[in-house]
């Protein structure tokens, strides 16, 4: 059976809560411990809030992943917002242009196993994160 992608549109702060709850649900169903579920939900919360704060709207796509019997979760946060001109700066701890204390992206990176960010000014930003169940 092909793993199903769950897509949550992110427009308001309520969607941030929906996305992280859905992420926890999927993580719970795919072998993640309660602690890892919390880390995943928190990371989703940060990237979803980034969409609301900087892009206005976007989406979070969640999928269970399976690599040689290793279970995991894939989180993709996409937006067509203004983009980030200096990713290295955005990934620096304590940096923030809006109001999130700057913990957002570097924090989410620390909570997950894999983290990639692609951004083009004027086009948008995609954050791809994975975590593997232990």
């Amino acid at each position: 059976m092909e793993p199903v992608e769950t897509c949550i549109p992110i427009v308001t702060d309520v969607d941030v809560v929906t996305a992280r709850q859905k992420g926890r649900e999927i993580a719970a169903a795919h072998g993640f411990s309660a602690t890892d579920q919390t880390l995943i939900a928190t990371a989703i919360s940060e990237v979803a809030r980034n969409i609301v704060s900087y892009a206005g709207r976007g989406e979070i796509a969640l999928s269970p992943i399976d690599e040689h019997g290793r279970q995991g979760i894939l989180v993709v946060a996409r937006d067509s917002g203004p983009g980030i001109s200096d990713i290295a700066l955005a990934m620096r701890d304590g940096f923030s242009t809006a109001n999130s204390l700057g913990a957002g992206l570097p924090g989410a990176k620390r909570l997950m196993d894999e983290f990639e960010i692609m951004s083009t000014v004027g086009v948008g930003t995609t954050v791809t994160m994975r975590k593997w169940a232990r």
């Binding site: 702060d13 919390t38 928190t42 809030r49 913990a103 570097p106 924090g107 909570l111």
Partner: protein
Amino acid sequence: MPVPILKQGEVLIASIQAALSDRDLAALRDELADRVGRFRIRGVVVDVTALDVLDSFASRTIRSIAYITKLRGADTVVVGIQPDVAFAMVQLGLTLDGVVTALDLEEGLEALRLIRRDALGTG
């Protein structure tokens, strides 16, 4: 969903029942700041036992609740941060600097009592 706020003598107890949106959290902050003055409150307990995530925004808002109520003459104790939530906060690099925390509501009320006693210089 608004957070129920109970008044017990000079203490307000904000008992968060379910996941809160950013707006709900900001509303709680404003409501507490208002009620501290309106009811001449000395202490506030914010019970976050029901929260399964405390991300950067939630941590920042809880910290501002503690600072704002302090400026209004009341001490705030945050109680009930779950172990997994605490772990995630540490990983995120979030701290609640200068905010008094306690394990649960009972310990929180005791902490407020001790703060008040020290402030009055009686014992």
